[in-house]
């Protein structure tokens, strides 16, 4: 029994470390997306930073919490509610995977339809010839 408890304690440390690593990585990517949103030159490139950065970083942070709460489950007196929290957190992940790229696309499309001129250096714009100048 004592041995089992020791094992558990070590498992705890491993689980917590994994969760800390996941959350810190997520925060790092959040930071990347924030800097991108501030620094990038035009609306479309900012959208790249916002859309991609937010997806993965939210995913990582929430995964980190899912791992942490998985470690918090008392397997000795198991109640389903504890495990369901983890599943719900994973459901949020799936939800983010689904909605975030869609929102990115929707905003980008809206920006394009609205006439924000993309910053194109060389290859140009395959969608159509430049529209109204001086917008955006």
């Amino acid at each position: 029994m004592l041995k089992g408890r020791r094992r558990n304690f070590e498992d705890m440390i491993i689980i917590n470390t994994i969760s800390i690593i996941l959350i810190l990585t997520g925060l790092l990517f959040f930071f990347g997306s924030v800097v991108g949103v501030l620094r990038f030159p035009d609306f479309y490139t900012r959208m790249h930073a916002a859309g991609k950065g937010d997806t993965l970083s939210s995913l990582l942070v929430i995964m980190g919490f899912a791992v942490y709460h998985l470690g918090q489950i008392h397997w000795m007196d198991f109640v389903w509610a504890d495990l369901l929290v983890v599943i719900k957190l994973l459901a949020i992940c799936a939800f983010i995977m689904l909605t975030s790229p869609t929102a990115t696309h929707a905003l980008m499309d809206a920006g394009y339809e609205d006439g924000i001129e993309p910053l194109t250096h060389k290859k140009g714009n395959a969608l159509r010839e430049p529209k109204v100048k001086g917008r955006g």
Partner: protein, 113 residues
């Protein structure tokens, strides 16, 4: 379960600081929200802040005394949903704004917002 109180307290402190870091990351985005330059830039900024808020709710739920994480997970889900619907509706609006007669100027004059 064999985790000591100290371990839990350390994790708690980590979550608090990580949450504060996340909160601080919202501040620069407010700058983007403020300067625009276009209305959609502002919406993007709001969307970014909204995503961070949804994640922050999970932080708050974990450090909440009494451990009501299942409650805050629902909040985070609902907040994420409404954030998504909000940006989608805004995107739709600007998608159509030219067709609506074009009198909605997206140049981002401060007076309009």
């Amino acid at each position: 379960m064999g985790h000591s109180g100290k371990e839990a307290a350390e994790m708690n402190a980590f979550f608090v600081w990580a949450g504060i870091a996340l909160l601080l990351m919202m501040v620069p985005v407010f700058y983007r929200m403020n300067i625009g330059p276009t209305a959609i830039d502002r919406i993007v900024a709001v969307n970014v802040i909204g995503t961070k808020t949804a994640v922050l709710l999970v932080f708050i739920g974990t450090i909440f005394p009494g451990g009501r994480i299942e409650m805050f997970v629902d909040f985070a889900l609902a907040y994420g949903l409404l954030n998504f619907i909000g940006s989608l509706a805004a995107a739709r609006f600007f998608h159509r704004s030219k067709a609506l007669g074009g009198e909605i100027d997206v140049e981002g004059e401060a007076e309009e917002f």
